[in-house]
């Protein structure tokens, strides 16, 4: 791989963690056939929740972060607790202390403490064509598909390496030729609400590594967020195109492509296969975190249905601060709006055994990460059922 003199210097003479970071980027690049390292404008690191990375992950971060600083804008994925209200989440003190050590490690290298899986909703989103190094599969697919930015689906350590060096190996979705559609998708089912999640879950199982192309996929940016998060859970898809909608649809088709049909039955099957519980202990709304606009919509529903079981809503501190009235309404009607964390990276098992959620990504990960049984259902239906 070709390295610039500046990159070579960082690899040979940088601080120990900078050398490790450069070695990691060069090795990943060589394995994937990259010819060089390119600058990124923004790194988004995952691996911040003590629930997911555990003691060995904490050890790595403490060792790695003690002698470096970030060189580009760096945001961080959700941690496993609300930093201000973790006691209300039923989390033991020892657990919170471990989590705080992870927070301190990231704080020490100068990250923006977003603790969010929706960094594109905080401040200025990345522009079309901008090169990023984003971990968090739901954010990476959103950045590529909806914003037209360019990132591979990074892991925690590779995104962290990009944060402290400012570079990423040029392969995969950084290159034009790897951003073309590989399969057409016809949706032959009603869409709306949770059905965007079901579409993502179902389509993910039908792909064979191709980038999907929709001639028609109506819905808001939020709908595409839920769809993308679910799709990235059941497949390694990190980009999709929608005709007359997403930034790169015009140049994405070439040659004859096979067509996948996704039917009403496929959506129902997805819902059934991810529903493993009978009676919910709580309703969990998040994964990905909710936008300010979505918090406002939930406030309206909470007021209408006044549900009788705990409703845990996951958002970013940023969105929460911009939707103060909605947060108050949700909490007045029995809900809790947590910041800094998200549905399946928080230790729900201290409080609940069966979680009802409208999130496809949540339904995919809750059983393994949080030992939960799951009821996957539309939010309004859930709130009505438990009102």
């Amino acid at each position: 791989m070709y390295l610039t003199p500046e990159q070579e210097k960082l690899l040979q003479d940088g601080r120990p963690s900078e050398q490790t970071a450069m070695k990691l980027l060069v090795t990943l690049g060589e394995v994937h056939g990259a010819g060089r390292l390119i600058p990124v404008t923004w790194a988004h690191v995952s691996g911040a929740s003590y629930l997911t990375i555990g003691d060995t992950g904490l050890e790595f971060l403490e060792d790695f972060c003690h002698d470096v600083s970030v060189r580009v804008k760096t945001t961080v994925n959700p941690i496993s607790i609300d930093l201000e209200r973790w006691r209300e989440m039923g989390v033991p003190k020892e657990y919170a202390e471990k989590q705080m050590k992870i927070v301190e490690a990231y704080r020490g290298i100068g990250v923006e403490e977003t603790y969010s899986c929706t960094p594109y909703l905080i401040g200025q989103p990345p522009s079309k064509g901008e090169h990023l190094a984003w971990a968090e599969s739901s954010a990476a697919i959103y950045a590529n598909a909806v914003l037209g930015a360019r990132t591979n689906r990074e892991g925690g350590p590779s995104a962290l390496s990009s944060a402290v060096t400012g570079f990423t190996p040029e392969f995969g979705l950084h290159l034009d030729e790897n951003r073309k559609a590989g399969v057409k998708v016809n949706v032959e089912a009603k869409l709306g609400g949770m059905r965007y999640s079901l579409l993502g879950l179902a389509l993910g199982t039908m792909l064979d590594g191709e980038i999907p192309y929709f001639q028609k996929l109506p819905g808001s940016d939020e709908d595409l967020k839920w769809f993308g998060a679910a799709l990235a859970s059941t497949s390694d898809a990190t980009l999709f195109h929608v005709e007359k909608r997403t930034p790169e649809w015009r140049n994405s088709l070439h040659g004859r492509l096979r067509t996948i049909r996704v039917t009403e039955k496929d959506l129902k099957d997805a819902q059934r296969s991810f529903s493993t519980g009978e009676e919910a202990d709580a309703i969990g709304i998040g994964s990905p975190q909710l936008s300010a606009k979505e918090l406002e919509a939930i406030a309206v529903l909470m007021k209408r249905y006044r549900p009788k079981l705990p409703v845990w809503v996951f958002s970013s501190r940023d969105a929460k601060s911009r939707a103060g009235d909605a947060v108050k309404t949700i909490e007045r009607y029995g809900g809790r709006v947590w910041a800094d964390t998200c549905l399946e990276v928080s230790p729900l098992y201290y409080m609940f055994k069966t979680m009802a959620t409208p999130s496809g990504k949540g339904a995919y990960y809750l059983p393994s990460l949080c030992k939960q049984k799951v009821i996957l259902e539309d939010l309004a239906k859930l709130l009505r059922r438990y009102s």
């Binding site: 090795t27 990943l28 394995v31 990375i53 003691d55 060995t56 992950g57 892991g155 925690g156």
Partner: protein, 275 residues
């Protein structure tokens, strides 16, 4: 034998091989403080990776598995070296952050569990002292979609009675492709074969011998075959039928490697001057 792999992370390590034919899940599969394999579904369950040359197809499961390799290395409990067939993100990241000597591109069945292996990851070589390796070319001749298989005679030194492509040992510094062309003339008497594809080498371990098979596909314009003493009979078969024949070790894999390999036009172009 000393075989050439590809470097994942530099350094050197030696020790007894621990061979897994299945992918390994490090998170939940290997204890991060001791190196014991705690995955009860693994055939290696209860054994310990520390100080071993760990040979396996790839990682599986959570990407947090990289941190498990880091945790082991930090405690001096890591494998002495890693030989991974496919370098996925989990293993690549784990080897780099744990500074564990690691190479890739070698399937685990090249090694026998327990034998002493030396890995020089800087040079990307894997060495087993008591094993001898042999470079072999094997040529699949193709005519109108059918592939020529030959049954080895009783007079040859190895694998008598089994089916094979046109094959031969590479001698000294000989160019592989020249050996292939010589063998085609000698064994089946077909002139002017046209190279169609070249595959990645396929490894076949047989006791204390390792055959490094370099596979090729050639197009030929005749099905007239003139056998020499090395073969007893021949057949033109469909590619899908190859695996049904009792072949020399890794026969079907060798064909598949060539079929998936670099088409000859590309191969020729690569050798040309840069554009």
């Amino acid at each position: 034998m000393r075989i050439q792999a590809k470097r994942l992370f530099g350094g050197r390590g030696q020790g007894p091989a621990m061979v897994s034919s299945n992918p390994i899940s490090f998170l939940g599969g290997v204890a991060p403080t001791t190196g014991e394999i705690i995955d009860t579904h693994s055939p290696l369950s209860g054994r310990n990776v520390s100080g071993r040359i760990l040979a396996f197809p790839g990682g599986k499961g959570s990407t947090v598995g990289s941190y498990v390799l880091y945790g082991l290395a930090r405690r001096g409990r890591a494998p002495a070296a890693i030989i991974v067939e496919r370098p996925d993100t989990i293993v690549t990241v784990g080897a780099v952050i744990g500074k564990i000597p690691a190479v890739y591109g070698i399937p685990p069945d090249v090694l026998h569990d327990g034998e002493w292996v030396e890995v020089d990851a800087d040079k990307a070589t894997v060495r087993v002292r008591d094993v001898t390796s042999y470079d072999v070319v094997t040529c699949f001749l193709r005519n109108r979609g059918r592939i020529l298989l030959l049954r080895r005679s009783a007079k040859v030194g190895t694998f008598q009675g089994t089916w094979a492509g046109v094959s031969g040992y590479v001698e000294g510094d000989e160019v592989f492709l020249e050996r292939a062309l010589k063998e085609i003339i000698e064994e089946v008497g077909i002139a002017d074969p046209v190279l169609a594809a070249t595959g990645e080498p396929v490894y076949a371990r047989n006791g204390d011998r390792l055959f490094i098979v370099h596979p090729y596909i050639f197009e030929v314009d005749t099905r007239n075959v003139r056998l020499d003493w090395e073969h007893a009979e021949y057949r033109w078969v469909k590619p899908a039928e190859i695996s049904a024949f009792k072949g020399v070790p890794k026969l079907a894999e060798a064909y598949q490697s060539a079929a998936n390999g670099v088409p000859a036009r590309m191969a020729n172009r690569r050798r040309g001057p840069p554009p």
